[in-house]
Amino acid sequence: MLEQAASIAAFVGQGLVLAGAIVTIIGSVGVLRFPDFYTRIHAASVTDTLGAGLIIVGLVLLGGGFFVTVKLLIIWGLILITGPTASHALANAAFTSHVKPLGRGDLRQPSASDEG
């Protein structure tokens, strides 16, 4: 019974790590696709929050043990504090140096030549 539970935890853990990796790739695709500086920050924060979060929860299930778990959660906590701080520093620097955010009217209408 205990062995079964452990193998299920390992399976779920692997799944979560894989999901985290996929979400991270999606976030990177967003950074490439989005049109201006400010919108790209939003895509990058997907990588920061859900991507890193899924990978760390997956690693907790794979690693096991109290001390490993606590250390991983501390790493997550640090990411959750430093990620937004860095994002805000970037956005604020862009804002104070008068980088104008794109408005709705600045975006091209979607068309067949929109790919890439």
Partner: protein, 159 residues
């Protein structure tokens, strides 16, 4: 005093979970490191409610629990936006009032808004936050009222 006790407990717990050692020698080392850290903090005169919010642990944790749910919802929204045509985006800037008066409450609010994908705090001044949103349509200055209220509860009230 509660800030001091909170800091001692947090430092000791932090030392223990990071080292995982239980030999007597390590207790001595732990005590010495905690004392050194306390001395440095006291000398810098930064033992106050903003640097040692550990006694508000339960409030902060309940705020975080709510924030996680908002974070997942926002993540899904942004991931959907990534796969839609770029023309479907409606980026915009909005200004909202920050009800929190303490540094801790304001930091919580601004940091949480930035943490949630789809919204980034650009600037904070005079109790107001300037926010850039990925989907600016339907976003008003009231959209962050719930955020603001919860950050006041977690960061401002009772001490």
């Amino acid at each position: 005093m509660k800030y001091f006790i909170g800091l001692v407990v947090a430092l000791t717990a932090g030392w223990f979970v990071l080292s995982g050692q239980t030999k007597p020698l390590f207790y001595v080392l732990a005590g010495m490191s905690v004392l050194a850290a306390l001395w440095a903090t006291a000398r810098l005169e930064i033992i106050d409610r903003d640097s040692s919010p550990y006694h508000r642990g339960i409030l902060l944790f309940s705020f975080m629990g709510w924030l996680f749910i908002e974070m997942i919802k926002a993540n899904i929204a942004v991931i959907r936006a990534i796969f839609r045509p770029v023309g479907a985006l409606s980026p915009g800037v909005t200004v909202t009032r920050c009800q929190a008066r303490s540094d801790l409450g304001r930091t919580l609010l601004a940091n949480s808004i930035t943490l949630t994908p789809g919204t980034v705090t650009l600037d904070i001044a005079d109790g107001k936050l300037m926010i850039h949103a990925l989907q600016g349509d339907g976003l008003t200055s009231d959209s962050f009222t719930e955020f603001s209220r919860r950050s006041v509860v977690a960061g401002d009230e009772r001490g």
